[in-house]
Symmetry: D2
Subunit: 363 residues, 4 copies
């Protein structure tokens, strides 16, 4: 039986371990994908240190691959385009469709996405940091346009789909909006990319280090505010007010996860403005930050939180990266690693050296 | 092997035929439902005369039943409530989750709902006009509250869920809206019920015959306009204007399917009003009605069409019928038939004698 | 020259002083109103103790009056109904229409509403706690329906219009929503009233003292939670979860202004729920409460703040109180005072003895 | 007394007549504007032939001018920027703020905009086709950014603000939407410009003559369909389907006013798509077109009509033209005329020779 390699999370805080797995046979409706690229996401890094994350697990949920074997009956992608072995695809697990969250159109409570399934049971290969990934029958599949590079395709599923989901929830970015993006990591870059694509008049990115802000300007940021320079939240709020004629931005998109970012956003945003809270994923522990909700009332604000995305957001971000965005977003992929050096990829992410670090499992 | 009876559409325009089918074994995830009630819907009547409707088919998609056998692994309903044999349920097929329509949150293009599946293949029993109905693995299930009568439960899935979907699409009925409902059939009654429940100031129902308008007033209509009396569309528009202080209603809900109804609605609705078009299901054939779209532009109108519903609309209509609606909506079920007289049920619908005619397959 | 009396805020923290003013002549477009009722609002009480509130000032912005003199050219109300002397009216100042806030459809930054204008300049009479109130040319006027009591009319402009504005901003209360109202003062009662009118399945009011919760149940609350009994925020969150099948309410409406209310609301509301923040009007001072914004992100929440209302909300609340709401909301007016005892009215509000205390300036 | 010239509509169908008027004194709050440019709009052309249009009237409602005299108390524009004589401005009349339409946030029923007021009463100068235009006290004013050409500024108020209002009403153009624009006149060009600015994946413009489609491609159209070539509506629908992979566009924006355009749009747009109806301004007379509303229901469409705009749309289109739009939209101004040849400007518009014809009243 043919085998392949994959990187497995086996112990909290320990390096991922390269293990060998049998390449599974493909049942009707299933699909075997040969992996091209998988990005290291902050969630992967977080999980690697989390005692509550089940293990063993093959991480990697931002993935680009090639159809290696198509199970019987899998003939078309979500857009109705014919599929064949050798096609590059983006894929997701299909939601259960019968839980409460599915019923209200939110993230399924039952089905886990690839990259979040333990590898102890066959077919084992359920995450992107492996040479192959096996998709259960009836997966959601989108063929990557032939005109599109793998790098661009990957950027569609890094940050961008979640941000697009969020932008939809705040009622869209309107033509000529001034937008502040808090955070200069991959999610912040997605927010910047989309705000510019949606016709924002001005996008101000707040973050660090300087190299990331430099990249932000390359992909369209009109202004950047370096938090290594503006260390006090009050200074940052003042700088944003100054850059927006004293009124504050129409939209703030929080992508930093920072402890003070939420309060800063409330203070920056203009009266009747919108505040999208994307980055606040982690519990603040025993000392949550002090917040003044009266700003929400007095400024008649609109706030939305968002996690993950719905399938149509992926369709849109792929098209957006393929045809709409003119900036060189592929430059955001700063580091590339073979599967054997998957732990190097994680390290480059943890040190903030990399903006986006990817693993090329079959390189 | 035990058998049961069901009414089958075998020939265009002919009476449904009572046939005998084996009662299927229940596979893991599947559910066998013993039918309590199934309503005759205009769609069933339409299909019975349609050469393009596949056959043989057991009609009946507005259904209330009792769980007869629960397949292995089916433990909870959509709200997380435990399920057991003997529980009354409302059910739907689960959407595929991977077609374009599923991806954008619209009606699945792939999976058919029960009542629209041919009966030539096992397990045969796929529509409400039979003693049993078999649900494929992983169906969508909602337990009917114990405090709720079958009649009330059935009303939740007659017209109401589609109307609720539509009301959501037009951005809701606002407190104190004046609403015109065009049409006094079951869908119109659903629109009336929900407009009142949502806090409409005044609901005007336009329809016929007089007996239906009488029923409309019993379940809350503030005014009715009898089209047997106001025969000319111009008269109906004038009457609505008179009843609304010359301004026209805030919302019009078209539930009649009538040839002139769309144009009447455009003429009635106030400037910046909303127009929900529910009833225009059928092609108008070679002579579509003349329409003046400039009213849409000049009156800055908002229009939405709607078909069917999403699962959460069913959850809501059941709760609404159980606790919110105080009017005696169960009176809308005017005619009841045993399975052996299913054709009588269809006839009572076709002659407009019945508001809602139901079949009690195990009575 | 004829004179009349009004209660004037002259010194911080001191009782309002009854002063005598000339009854002004009415210029073209202006209107002289003879006051029927003016309610004491929490804002009035707050301003009476505020060193930053300009003075002298006649408070009173929740007003019902009678047209005493109609200036030349004032012929119709906002609905186009003819106006004459003797008509009861609700009124507002007309926004400037050319500031930024007016341009985006928010509260005018330039024109103050009656009850917030100093009384040192003629025509002096600009607040509700006086026998007459003078409206500048081109006021916004709504004739009170003849079928409607003054009490019901007054309730339309207490809490309700602001809450309606807020409900619109969160995208409406949907049929069968479960709603938690935090706070059992007049704003909370407005939220309760509207949630019931809009077809909520269940409304849970959290507040105190017991007498207010008793009133809440009389006007439709399905459940109440007494904060004198459930003293710890965790207990209140747990009780709400219990009452909502573990899932949490679809909607939370914060009307309490309490220091911990915002965080409690975040913890109560269900995944993908809505949170309207009405009561957080005051700065929390040097010690703002600790808040966990990750709940906004993880629960994909929608939040909106709201202050005041737009004119169409008043049109709607008047209709709602006149025809839609069946509960005895007039019972919320628990205390009535002559103008000479205006300070008694304030006291009954400050002690929480009164739910709504009104002054009858010409009684 | 100093005088100036203006072009007056004096008789139906006759050439505009150049007349001389006194230059008015400026009262407190008023503003005298010296006109730079005024565009000929289809509405002006329509009104010139309309027996119901009041006269005498100075047309011209798409205007750019310079502040000649500032009345006492006019100190800032809508954004709070200081104003002085010599500043270039865009202006509108201020809505009444107290009619029903103002109360619901729609176009004022009372106050007419400049270009639609008869010139028989002082100060006479109320339209753009004159050397001066007098603004009544408290006008709405927006200073044109110094970095912006008159041509770009004018394009902000031609088509674009109305289209932006409409796009807002359909819930925005989403990133990567495919958009069909019906009509290749100035409004269609506005729709094209904004769809591209908002991140549309592909914009298809349907119109004629070929020279206009050439211009459309220059300012960003991805595809054009020439109705001189595709003469049958069925051909146009088929071509759009072909260009959109058989599915139809996500959004259709009707800007043509054509008799069959509405039905074509219904046929083109995809399931659950959006249809903005901007161009259907004129009554279709005794023979309105046949329309099939069942497409609205079956395709679960969303439609909105729109006329004119709200002030904030102008703020946005000016910013958009100044900073967001990179295409050479100023090329759309194809013809320029002195005031003495105002009738030549109208002729160039009527023959479709000009895309946008402007009059330079002081050239």
């Amino acid at each position: 039986m043919a085998t392949c390699k994959a990187a497995v999370f086996v112990e909290v805080g320990e390096p991922l371990e390269i293990q060998e797995f049998p390449i599974p046979n493909v049942e009707p409706g299933g699909v075997l994908v040969k992996m091209d690229m998988a990005a290291v996401c902050a969630t992967d890094v977080h999980n690697r240190y989390s005692p509550t994350c089940p293990r063993p697990m093959i991480f990697g949920h931002e993935n680009i691959g090639v159809i290696d074997r198509l199970g019987k009956g899998v003939e078309k992608d979500v857009l109705g385009q014919p599929l064949k072995e050798g096609d590059r695809v983006i894929f997701r697990s299909t939601p259960c469709g019968r839980c409460f969250n599915c019923s209200i159109g939110e993230n399924c409570q039952v089905v886990k996405n690839y990259g979040f399934i333990t590898s102890d049971q066959p077919p084992h290969l359920r995450g992107g940091f492996g040479q192959y990934l096996y998709l259960d029958p009836s997966p959601w599949l989108l063929r990557i346009p032939d005109t599109m590079s793998n790098d661009r395709a990957l950027m569609s599923v890094i940050g961008n789909h979640t941000v697009l989901n969020g932008i939809e929830r705040i009622g869209g970015i309107s033509l000529s909006d001034t937008v502040v993006v808090q955070g200069s990591g991959p999610i912040g870059m997605g927010a910047l990319t989309q705000a510019k694509a949606a016709g924002a008049n001005r996008v101000i990115v707040i973050g660090a280090p300087a190299s990331r802000l430099e990249l932000a300007r390359e992909i369209g940021a009109d202004d950047t505010i370096d938090i290594d320079e503006y260390r006090d939240p009050k200074q940052r709020v003042a700088k944003v007010k100054e850059l927006t004629g004293g009124r504050g931005p129409d939209v703030v998109i929080e992508c930093s996860g920072g402890n003070t970012a939420f309060q800063e956003g409330l203070e920056m945003v203009r009266v009747a403005g919108k505040f999208l809270v994307v980055g606040q994923l982690r519990d603040h522990g025993p000392q949550p930050p002090p917040i003044t909700p009266f700003l929400i009332t007095r400024k008649v604000l609109r706030l939305n939180g968002v996690i993950s995305s719905k399938p149509h957001h992926i369709i849109r971000t792929v098209q957006m990266m393929n045809r709409v965005v003119k900036y060189p977003v592929e430059k955001l992929i700063t580091h590339r690693f073979p599967l054997s050096d998957v732990n190097g990829a994680f390290e480059s992410h943890e040190t903030l050296e990399a903006m986006v670090a990817v693993v090329l499992p079959n390189a």
